[in-house]
Symmetry: C3
Amino acid sequence: MTFICLMIDIDYLRLIDLSGIAAFAVSGAVAAMRKRLDLFGIFIIAFVTAMGGGTLRDLLIGEAPPVWMFDMWYGLTVGVSTLIVMLFTRQIENFRKTLLFFDSLGLGFFTIVGIEVGLSLNLHPVICVTLGTVTACFGGVIRDISLRTIPVIFQKEVYASACIAGGIFYFAFVYFGADDTWVKVVSISAVFLMRMLAVIFDLRLPNPYRSA
Amino acid sequence: MTFICLMIDIDYLRLIDLSGIAAFAVSGAVAAMRKRLDLFGIFIIAFVTAMGGGTLRDLLIGEAPPVWMFDMWYGLTVGVSTLIVMLFTRQIENFRKTLLFFDSLGLGFFTIVGIEVGLSLNLHPVICVTLGTVTACFGGVIRDISLRTIPVIFQKEVYASACIAGGIFYFAFVYFGADDTWVKVVSISAVFLMRMLAVIFDLRLPNPYRSA
Amino acid sequence: MTFICLMIDIDYLRLIDLSGIAAFAVSGAVAAMRKRLDLFGIFIIAFVTAMGGGTLRDLLIGEAPPVWMFDMWYGLTVGVSTLIVMLFTRQIENFRKTLLFFDSLGLGFFTIVGIEVGLSLNLHPVICVTLGTVTACFGGVIRDISLRTIPVIFQKEVYASACIAGGIFYFAFVYFGADDTWVKVVSISAVFLMRMLAVIFDLRLPNPYRSA
């Protein structure tokens, strides 16, 4: 019984994980096609967008090789996502909301994964939140730098901020002694909701520039 | 006798290795001079073009420090190549074919080196081919990103594709039980020929964009 | 008594270290504000400018996680520096000379830190100087690439060259058997002075391009 629960639990997390990977890969492939890259370029940008954040986190903590070298499902998910984007370029626009849904879910999920990696190394909460943000956001940063645009998360969107806020939620819940599963569910939901609401209502960070 | 053969074999591989490094360094130095970088900038771009792919591969598999920190021949080869480019800028244009020859040979050689590094870690063939492609191509990617251009291999050239095809050759030959030396010679030649023919006949990957 | 001296010595080095970090963070924050990044973007660029060089060096030598994951003073210094830049944007211009002073001191200090990391791994002097230059200069390179400009140190300024020259001073002094403390003080001063003089007198590397 416990074993079955564990199986379900693992499959459930795996589904979120691969959905997030797929959503990130789609965002990479779409960006690469806008810049008219070739087949190989599109796949590579999809791959670094999806796996770059986790890989950079692993490099920073001295964890190598990264998991995608052992588990072929990651590469396969990226490959299939890229193929779908190339075949259904025009229709993808209509799935904007579906994509945002999975992208936001992935953002929350990867933030918490990064935080828990930091905790397993006994790092300071601030560094754990940093690792969560790196895991969730830096695939997009590498995508934007490769495509010669200033990373979008540095400019106007509530993106990294949602990860940081979710991380603060996480440690606040842990501090007040919440149950482990609840901590995860609530923190992932918090990132997810902040990102969704920010896009829907076009929310931004306070402007650090004085109006001219 | 065996010892002498081994010596010859090592020197032979070393010659290909350093020739490839030199060709990659020249391509980096030429690109840096086109952007009017200063002396230091030209050398650094030549260095990252030549060593970046192997260094990134080593970082990914947790192999550090990279070999160029122990074997000074790498840095020396890059230095001499850069100096030659700076002294003979105009004449370099006339050696276009010679450069293509060594660049393509380096491409094949570094692909197979990357694949064999992956095999030594018991990684999946797909990951081995990935590591081969990273070794051969990502020096050029780092060069292009540093010089603020979208990496050329993401755009139109048969470059990474030649590495991937060569990697497939490699594993096909291994599968059919070919002799180890033959596997290497044929795979390196395959990458070399595909790259040479692609440049000479201006071959490209199929266009993923519908004509307007 | 020895203990007190040691304490003073450590605090002294720590003060230079954190002053250099602060100066680099300020240069990152100023550059990010020129590109109109948002709050998060400004902080991240300040952070990678200040910590990027040392982190890249640590990745290259297989030393992970980097020190800023354990010592919260680094992140705090970057945070406070960034905040000051945001609050006093206009006044910062008036502190140009103060900033140059600390930036140059940081440059010298980080160069020698990098060299000594290389020595502790028994690396070749040339590689030690390379590690020193990476430590001191590559934060700025990552800053410039993230902000989509060709790295300034590749173009015209005596910056990396000051680190390399300081490194050569270091090994020359060691060779002639100078006392360890003196070696450090003189090498740091050499980098500091070269950088200051280069900015004040607008010195540049010899031009590798023939005049048209």
